[in-house]
Amino acid sequence: MYANAVIRCRPSLHHHYQQHKSLIWFSQQQQQLTSSNANKPRNFSAQSSILPPPDVSRLAQTARISLTPNEVEEFAPKIRQVIDWFGQLQAVDLQSIEPALRADTEGDNLRHDVPETFGNREAILSAVPSYQEPYIKVPKILNKE
């Protein structure tokens, strides 16, 4: 069952890569415009693998962490190095191996699904940085995107 899943997903990953190539190229161009030091050729040693290498700016956006151009420059080679190193698992034959979610825990430990009142509500609410009874206040949520 898992073996099939692995085989089936490969073409779609290829497809994914094709789609991403242009995005990666685009973000590199952008970096060249914004960063004086970006003309160094990038090391794409992950190209042997079928997956596109990480694009740090995009990842940062997805993870909701704003990075400075310096951070992007500092992190990118390190993250690529680690992802390349992760790639060694692609070469291992794992076709008939079931994935394990965690170490076996002896199951049936769930508590009953009944609500309980938490005793220390005051303390929870006093930790909220911006609170206006009875709401947690945030800036506007809608933006132009």
């Binding site: 962490i65 190095q81 965690r102 220390n120 303390a123």
Partner: protein
């Protein structure tokens, strides 16, 4: 003390190989405890130990209990002694992010309880440090991260609640690599902790503050957490005992999640007995953690009361497998020979030691880092500056999230979140996360096979002794490689005990090396029993750092 370990390596070898005598009966754990109780203070105990440099470590917890029950010492005296040492050493070691203001008050209350002849908990009057990623209601809990600077949780972690119920006095919150991501404690958002054996070296990590605090006798014992070795590696670097329990033995409720499928709360002590007593106090099922086991918690420390030490071969018949993959390339040579000496010591105690192979061993490291970074990218999404923690000023919600996280997280945390985000991206799951989980199955299976033929497995706790600050700071792969000895145990969820077994050269007095003993699921009792005998019979090694000796 200094002269005794001027060249600890040579002396250790000499005593272990040529002067191997089984201890006289008075070395028996309980007897030696009673003997030491005649000393009028534990600082005197330290002096006494220093003079007789080969005496094995004793349980500070039992010593404290005895002297309280016999009214020989007051809880305030004991607390003061530790606090004085803490104040003296803290400017150099920097193991605490917060020191409790209530220590003396709690000790006074305990003295009143003793006066009223009330029953005392097993940890009454015992000063315990708590790693800063374990929630405490009356002390800040930041997980070593600026994003939670000043945060005070609204509840105690279950492990902390149990400590308090046992009568422990919490000394403070110990420094750590931010959210547990690091192996040196240099990744703390606040300060860098020094190794008490050589203050120019790291204490290990991520529970470096807890390990350094116990090593420098700033507290009696401490809690840490272990996702990939964060209790065991610093225990090795600082020359203290560290226990990573079976996944599910101790509730994770109130432990800030890093990689939930791997995280466990563990303990540090200056003896195996103290570590066992502490583990017993915090173990057990908790309705707030569905992965916590309903298994009964054995009385770990009372298993030590046996006549085994009276025999010449107290561990006769115990099958010990030494993991071949942990003694090869990339492992510091003096570390390898120290571990081989430890294996020899086990043989002298009656064990049969044979080499075992864990074929999936090297795959465990990348698999671990895929799982840990993936799970962290999901777990750390809660730190968005909205409900708690530091919030950045922003015009709209997305920048509030992104800027709060940008300001609050340090570089290693940011990188791991990004790596995890990559590994979990749509379409990549099968190539990374699922593959890593398949490797986890392989690792579990290879441990199971090895533990069918062996009662325990042994290895170094780390490929080197404590290294210099800054040495690996800018090279993530070099840093990650240091975790090779420990991560597989987390993938398999097994218990492992690390205890100091010798020294290698370095620093003013040598650098301690930890032996890792790995057992089957929920077999902590066996590890502690074997560890206790090992520790009590190890000759010529004193694991009190020069700073406090």
């Amino acid at each position: 003390m200094i002269s005794a370990i001027q060249n600890p390596r040579i002396q250790f070898l000499f005593q272990c190989r040529h002067q191997f005598n089984f201890p006289p009966k008075s070395r028996h754990f309980h007897r030696s405890t009673i003997l030491l109780n005649s000393a009028s203070s534990s600082s005197q105990v330290l002096t006494e130990k220093t003079l007789t440099s080969t005496s094995p470590p004793t349980s500070e917890i039992l010593t404290i209990r005895k002297s309280l029950l016999s009214r020989e010492r007051k809880a305030v005296e004991i607390a003061e002694e530790y606090l004085n040492r803490l104040r003296l050493t803290e400017p150099t070691i920097k193991s605490f992010l917060h020191v409790s203001e209530n220590v003396m008050k709690e000790a006074e209350e305990l003295d009143l309880k003793i006066e009223r002849n009330e029953e005392l908990g097993v940890l009454a009057g015992v000063l315990i440090g708590v790693k800063d990623n374990i929630c405490t209601v009356d002390m800040p809990s930041t997980g070593g991260s600026r994003i939670l600077q000043g945060y005070r949780p609204a509840y105690d972690a279950t492990a902390v609640k149990k400590l308090k119920q046992s009568g422990a006095i919490l000394v403070g919150k110990t420094n750590m690599d931010e959210f547990g991501m690091g192996s040196t404690t240099e990744g703390s958002g606040f300060q860098v902790t020094a190794n008490p054996w050589d203050v120019s070296r790291v204490p290990g990590g991520s529970s470096g503050g807890s390990a350094a605090a116990v090593s420098a006798r700033q507290c009696v014992a401490a809690l840490g957490s272990d996702t990939g070795g964060s209790v065991r590696q610093p225990a090795s670097f600082c020359g203290v005992v560290g226990m990573k329990p079976t996944y599910g033995r101790v509730s994770r409720f109130g432990l800030m999640a890093y990689a939930s499928s791997l995280d466990v709360i563990g303990c540090f002590g200056s003896s195996v007995a103290d570590t066992a007593i502490l583990l017993e106090a915090i173990s057990g099922h908790d309705i707030f953690d569905a992965t916590s086991s309903k298994r009964e918690v054995p009385s770990f420390a009372s298993q030590f009361i046996s006549t085994e030490l009276l025999e010449s071969k107290p561990l006769k018949g115990l099958r010990v497998g030494i993991i071949g993959e942990t003694l090869g390339d990339g492992v510091n040579k003096p570390v390898v020979s120290t571990i081989k000496d430890a294996a020899l010591h086990l043989e002298e105690l009656g064990c049969t030691v044979s080499e075992v192979s864990l074929p999936s061993f090297s795959l465990g490291l990348p698999a671990y880092y895929i799982l840990a970074s993936s799970e962290s990218s999901s777990n750390l999404s809660r730190y968005d500056g909205v409900r708690y923690g530091n919030q950045a000023a922003a015009e709209e919600l997305n920048s509030l999230y992104s800027d709060s996280r940008c300001n609050g997280f340090g570089p290693e945390v940011k990188m791991r979140i990004l790596m995890g985000t990559y590994a979990l991206s749509a379409g990549y799951y099968d190539a990374y996360y699922k593959r890593a989980q398949q490797v986890r199955t392989l690792v579990q299976k290879s441990f199971k096979d090895a533990l069918r033929e062996n009662d325990i497995l042994i290895s170094p706790a780390a490929p080197s002794a404590a290294y210099k600050m800054g040495e690996k700071k800018n090279d993530p792969l070099a840093m990650y490689a240091g975790d090779i000895m420990t991560v597989n145990v987390n993938l398999a969820g097994l218990p492992a005990l690390v205890l100091p077994c010798g020294f290698v050269e370095g620093g003013p007095a040598g650098l301690p090396i930890g032996l890792q003993m790995i057992g089957g699921q929920f077999d902590e009792g066996k590890l502690l029993r074997v560890g206790h005998i090992f520790e009590q019979t190890l000759q010529g090694c004193r694991f009190i750092p020069p700073l406090v000796a």
